[in-house]
Structures are given as C-alpha cells and as structure tokens.
Symmetry: C2
Subunit: 364 residues, 2 copies
Amino acid sequence: LVTTSRRPPKRRVVLADVARLAGTSEATASRALKDDPRIAEATRATVRAAATRLGYVPNAAARSLRAKRTHILGLLLDDLADPTHGEVAAGFESVAAEEGYAVFIMTGFHDANREQRALRTFVEHRADGICLASCVSDPSAVHRHLAAERVVFVQPDYPRLADGAEPPARGALRSDDPHGIKALVAHLVDQGYRRMAYVGAGATASDLLRRAAAVEATRESGADPLRVHDAGRSGWCDPSVVARELADDRPDAVICYDDKLALALIDALRDFGLSVPADVAVAGFDGIPLARRAQPRLTTIAVPSAEIGRRAAEMLVAAARDGSMPASETLPVSLVVGETTPRRRAIPIRRVAPSVAGAVGGHG
Amino acid sequence: LVTTSRRPPKRRVVLADVARLAGTSEATASRALKDDPRIAEATRATVRAAATRLGYVPNAAARSLRAKRTHILGLLLDDLADPTHGEVAAGFESVAAEEGYAVFIMTGFHDANREQRALRTFVEHRADGICLASCVSDPSAVHRHLAAERVVFVQPDYPRLADGAEPPARGALRSDDPHGIKALVAHLVDQGYRRMAYVGAGATASDLLRRAAAVEATRESGADPLRVHDAGRSGWCDPSVVARELADDRPDAVICYDDKLALALIDALRDFGLSVPADVAVAGFDGIPLARRAQPRLTTIAVPSAEIGRRAAEMLVAAARDGSMPASETLPVSLVVGETTPRRRAIPIRRVAPSVAGAVGGHG
DNA sequence: TTGTATGCGTTATCAA
DNA sequence: TTGATAACGCATACAA
C-alpha cells in the first residue's frame, strides 16, 4: 500500500486560515501577529501558535497595498562588481536589514537611461526610500518623479555638479574629496615632490572636482603647475596611453582619480621602464582593500564607503519615519600613506612601514 | 503677485485616473497599457497618452497581488563587499534587469539565522525565484518553505556537502573546483615543486572540498604528502599565524583557499623573511581582479563568477516561465598562471610574462 | 478586548 | 473590441 505523496496543490496559507484555526476574526489575528497591545495575551498566543502551525507567511504585497508603506528601499549604483560600490551596498543593506527593510539593488553604469529604468522600477514598487549612488541624473529631474523626502544622493555625479552647482541641501551624502586631495598634495610636497600630474578617468563630475582640487592645491603649495591627463572611463582599463604620456614628460609624482586606476597605471608604467616608487611616485583615491595589499602598498585617500552606505540607509529610514529628509552631510576622508610616495631622493628602501595619517577634512 | 507653488497633496495617480482621462473603462486602460492584442490601436494610443500626461506609474504591489506574479527575484549572498560575491551579484542583477525582474539582495555572512531571515523576507514578498549563494542552509531545510522550482543554489556551502552529500540534481550551480585544484597541482608539479601545503579558510564545505582535491591531486602526482593549514574564516584576515607555521616548516609551494587569503599570506610571509616567489611559490583561487593586478601577479584558478550569477538568474527566469527548474550545472574553471609559481630553481626573473592556460574541467 | 465592514490598485472573468 | 464586476490578502475605522 503505497501512498503517492503527491503534494496537494497547497494553496498558500492566508490570514483567514490562521484566524479560523485560532478561532478569532481576521482582524484579531492580524493584530495579534503584529503585537498590537490591545490584544489579550492568551489570544495572542493562540494566534501565534496557529500561524506557526500552518507556516503562515504574510503577503507583503497585500500589506503594502493596504498600509501604504512597503518597507522597501531602492539602491541604485554603478556597478556591483566595483569594490567601492560593493562596500556602499554592504553598508546600506546592513542597516536596511536591521531596520526591517528589504533592498532592491539595481545598476546604472553611469547611463542615464538605465538609471531612468531603475527609478521607474523603484517607483512601481513604491519604495519607501531610494538611494542614488554615483548617479548621473540631475536631482531636479529625479524630483520630478520622486518626493525629496524619499531620495538620498550619494556621491552624486551629475554633470552640473562639475560646473559648480551645489548639491541639494538635504538628502545628499558626499565624502570630502577636495580636502583629501589637499592633504595628499601637502603630503607629496612634504616628501619633496614638485612636478606632479593628475590622471583623470573620464571627466565625470567627481573626476573634475578632484582634478580642480588638485590644480588648486598644487598652485597654492608653490609646486610646478599640475599636468593633467585622462585615462578614460572604464574601471580596470588599460591606461597604457597615459603611461606613455607620463613616460615622455616624466613627472615625479602622479595623483590618480582612484585606486583602480593607480594600480593599473603602476602596472602599465613598468612596460615603459618606469618603476614605482623608484622612478615616479603614485597615489590613488578610495582606499580599496587591494590598495593596502598591493606591492608596494599604495598611498591613497581612504573614503569611508561602508559608512556612507550605512548613513544613506539611516537617512532614508529617518525620512520615512519623520516625513522629512535629514540635512546633507559631507564625510571626512583620510590620508593613508603607503610605500608609493616615499621621501624624494631617499635611498630606495625595500620596505617602508605603512602608516595611517589621522583623518583630515570633514565639516563636522 | 506671488503664487506660493505649494505642491498639492498630490494623490498618487491610479489606473482609474488614466481611464477617466482616456474615456475608457479601467479594464480597457489596463489592457491597453500592457499591449493586449485585442485593443484597438486608436484606443491604445489614447490610453498611453493619458498615462504619460498624468505620469502614471502602476503599483507593483497591486499588480502582484492580483496577478500572483511579482517579477521579483531574491538573491542571498555572503557579503556584498567581497569581490567574488560582487561579481555574482552583478551578473545576476544584469540578467534579471534584462528580463524585467527586480532583485532583492540580502547578505547572510555564513550565518544560518541571517539566512533564515532573508528567506523569510523573500517569501513575504513572494519572490518568483530565489538564488542562494554560498549559503550554509541545507537544501532540504530550505525546501520545507520553498518550492524547488523557485530556488537555485549557487556554490552551496552547507556542512553536509563536505561529508560527500550530493548537491540537488536540479537548481544547483557550482564551479568545478576539484578540477581546478588538479590543474593547479599539475602545474606546480610541472614547475618542479614537491613540498606543497594547503592553507584553508575556516573549514567550510567548499574549503574542505578544495582541500580534499588538493590532497588527492598531490598524492596522485607523486609529490610529497600535502601539509594542511588553516587561517580561519574571516575574509581579509591576517594570516600571520599560518605564515609562522609555514616559515617553520617551509614548503616550496602553497595553495591557498582563495585569492584574498593568498594575497594576505604573501604579505604576511614577508614579515618572516620569506619572499614570493623567490623563497616560496603561492597560488590562490577565484581569479579576482586584484590577483592579476597584484605584484607579483598571482597564479590562480579563475572562477567565472559573473557568468555564474547570470546563469543563476537565467535558471530562475526559465523556471518561473516553465514551472520546472533546469538541471544542475557545473561550470568550468581555468588555470591562470601568474608570477608566483615560476619554474623551480630558475634564476629569479624580474618579470615573467603572464599567460592564461586554456579552460580545464567542466562537465559540459 | 474583539468583531464587522470596507478599501488599497490592479487584473481576470465573464458578458455585451 | 470593450465594459462591469469580482477577487487578490491584508489592515484599519468604526462599532460592539
């Protein structure tokens, strides 16, 4: 006698089933499950037991529809495979999860159309809050579809920003890149470097801002005028063109837009017979984990990416709670001195102990 | 005369508004917007115009509730800040977006409780499909709450797997790690190494599988018995303890559980006066971008993480469409020869040109 | 402390 | 080709 244990078409358990088993009304069951204080302890226990027994899992769609709160946050970022963005995402998700929010993550790849589609998705799902990281869409355009209390811009990268436009007074979150660049230039000058170059990555807003800061800092420091190069947009690109330019008109120190570019550049420079730091110093920006694992260790500006992600989520949760978006913030960055920017003319040492400078910058 | 442009309490535009403006019923409007073939071209145009004019964005919750399809996928992974997981996530999200699915991403950190909470969230939102990457929960446990047609296990890491349990016949996606390890050992032997060590990372299932493969491969190759060490779980940990062990009983080649560990270990070995590859060869696993940027370039086994993420999403989409989960797959990995495993006793060369070996392994 | 009734915004079923 | 109407599963205002 074999019973074919074919699963019955197992209709999903709904609240009504729980209520029936518990011998209460749906309303009571609903309240009991969310710890409404005006439900008797005994009733609550009965309902909970019934729910557990039936394996009841509430339907978020139905709840959202009725409650007009989704407990969903949307996160738009450039590229999940990028270390910096990964950290932002990790921090964001972590806080969101603690606060009981689920997170939709979508990628924009610096493409306005993709960003539009992502926003549309977030809006369709009526996300309670949305974080736009490194997005190229203008805040004013975004706010045409989204209330300001629901959006946080993280490291916004829309073109107007490069032209001096101010980021929004509330709901913007940035790292203090100019301060970081200044600290870096000061460090380089201090180490004896005079002929510096900046290598950008595609002339995005953040690139232009860092570049401008570098131009200003070198000028103020009395060093030679900054030479400016550009390696193009792509992340782990091959900056051999720039490497050649640098080999031809050799600076003694190179400031790169970010760590990825710096590491790739160090690699490319070898092909032109230039060794770092013996022949030329190099510094990056971001402070990705690889930077301090690289050989030689990369001097860089550490950006608190995970903290930025966390803070963004906190702001959205607060805004959802209070109905008003917290004021914009600028987080401090810190200079991390590695082995790629040793004291000029020093005898090449096999290994310089790395050290971390104190935090610089920040408006707090 | 100043008009206070205070925004009206702007009630959300709903389908009824569109229908009214278009002069049709809600049903017609709904159909027109989703290109139902039996709607007249003229009507469709009118409705679309009305929708655009009003800035109508459908409510996903309402749609899901009624249609019993959410177009949501859930992705559970260990850590968004980890390069490998980031790539999986990127691939997954990319396919999902193309197919019109939004993705919930949650992190588990190898913690069964966190995984449970994530699953619960996915189920509450009635995700059409769920991808569990590197999860430690047993498939049988997962399937108590989730139909098998909705779940894909990626690089599952539940304890039973280490004890020889087979992964599920459908809905499992793995890389062919044993094959990769074998290719690596063959390469090492070929380069003249005999005394090899394996450094694990916390004795997870995947760690144990790689270790077992290494033990077997060394034995079959006639090399000395494999020495086994363990550096513990954490990602970018400081493996100084293992470095000391290795310095005391020096092997000539070290196979690391993954690239992160390998890079950290190379770093730590320097503190014990061991230089890579002059004093000892080191190989990693995963093929993270940093591996080929590292100095010296790391020999590793490249795992197609992004492809795995893509495939996982494809399987879930297919399963949602067809109602049945595709068969499990094992993706091939490939040996990437870097500079950390040069031919033994060769004169130390400043730079060995890197090369990529053809793909090895794979059951397809 | 609990129950009743209604509606959230959409799609599917049935008629017309 | 279109329209009326009934769910979908839950939470809340109101009543008891």
